[in-house]
Symmetry: C2
Subunit: 199 residues, 2 copies
């Protein structure tokens, strides 16, 4: 079995699942896209579900791995949150189709796949929550519901898959700076002395 051919099939599936949706894409569509007979395609994959699972698994595992590295870095928590936002946005912008399949299509997975992806997604939220918690413990961030704050930040960053234009005027870096600035300091001017940490 050729690893290259398998990768070509996975890339075709990403394109088709993003464009038409998982349910509207047939195994025949995928076979046509890579120039194979449907019977030959089954030498490489056992089912359409297997492809969706591999795509979703690769995508969410990559997000987790990158964020784990950031958490282990020796920088302050402002910087850590900035890097988390920048890395997530850079990955979404560079992998729009794959991220769309993860975020829009993975709900179609059957068990046990659905639970595996859900656990990896929960793990990703846990990592974001940990950055906020550690920032609170370090006296850099304000106290409050860290999981809810992580969901706000992660939601904003995930939503990029809906509006980011690969050929648009804004780079992932420019978007990251504006987003991180909002999450860290908000859109409003602050009242003098209104938000100083207790000493």
């Amino acid at each position: 079995m050729s690893a290259n051919k398998y990768e070509e099939i996975a890339q075709a599936a990403i394109r088709l699942f993003q464009q038409k949706g998982y349910h509207a894409t047939s195994v025949q569509d995928i076979a046509d896209e890579v120039g194979l007979q449907k019977g030959s395609l089954y030498h490489y994959i056992s089912s359409k579900e297997e492809l969706l699972m591999k795509i979703a698994h690769q995508s969410i595992s990559g997000f987790n791995r990158r964020l784990e590295k950031i958490i282990d870095m020796e920088v302050n928590h402002r910087e850590k949150l900035f890097m988390a936002v920048q890395t997530h946005i850079t990955v979404v912008a560079a992998n729009m189709q794959m991220t769309t399949v993860l975020l829009r299509e993975a709900f179609s997975l059957a068990e046990p796949h659905a639970t595996i992806i859900q656990e990896l997604t929960d793990r990703y939220l846990d990592l974001w929550t940990r950055i906020i918690d550690e920032g609170i413990a370090a006296g850099e961030f304000k106290p409050g519901n860290s999981r809810l704050k992580a969901l706000a930040i992660l939601g904003a960053c995930n939503w990029l898959y809906r509006w980011y234009e690969t050929d648009g005027p804004l780079s992932a870096d420019e978007i990251s700076k504006v987003f991180a600035d909002i999450f860290l300091d908000g859109v409003a001017y602050h009242k003098p002395g209104g938000s100083i940490p207790p000493s």
Copy 2:
């Protein structure tokens, strides 16, 4: 034609599109759900696409209408942004299935429906951007890319459809307060005098 029966069909379609996805739901599934023969269902609707369009149109139009009312209110822009966040989150939390159909399934619409929904969605983003722009003009909000800031805030609020639990511990009001606090003032403590508006 009974308006009640039509409404019952629309509610069944919302449930099925949310649970199985639009493509995986057949007209037969919808007929079964409301206890009609498939032929009789076609007395009420012309197609599955028509149902998806009506659901998406009703949902996004409601978001627009509510935000237009908030924009016209005589309050400051902090308060306006808070109310926009609170209203959006309250509507998503109270209409999780319908919002999921709008945000996850409407990409399956064909033309001219796709363009109509896209224009109403663009209009909604314009309204959020306007709140930020007017807050900047009033000296309440910091200058910057207002559309990008609106996309961050709206993305975070939209993402609720993915994680909000109707029977969970957090009310829409509690979530709104945490979210609006992040968008207005950020998660970090601010350096004394670091973010005072220029006078």
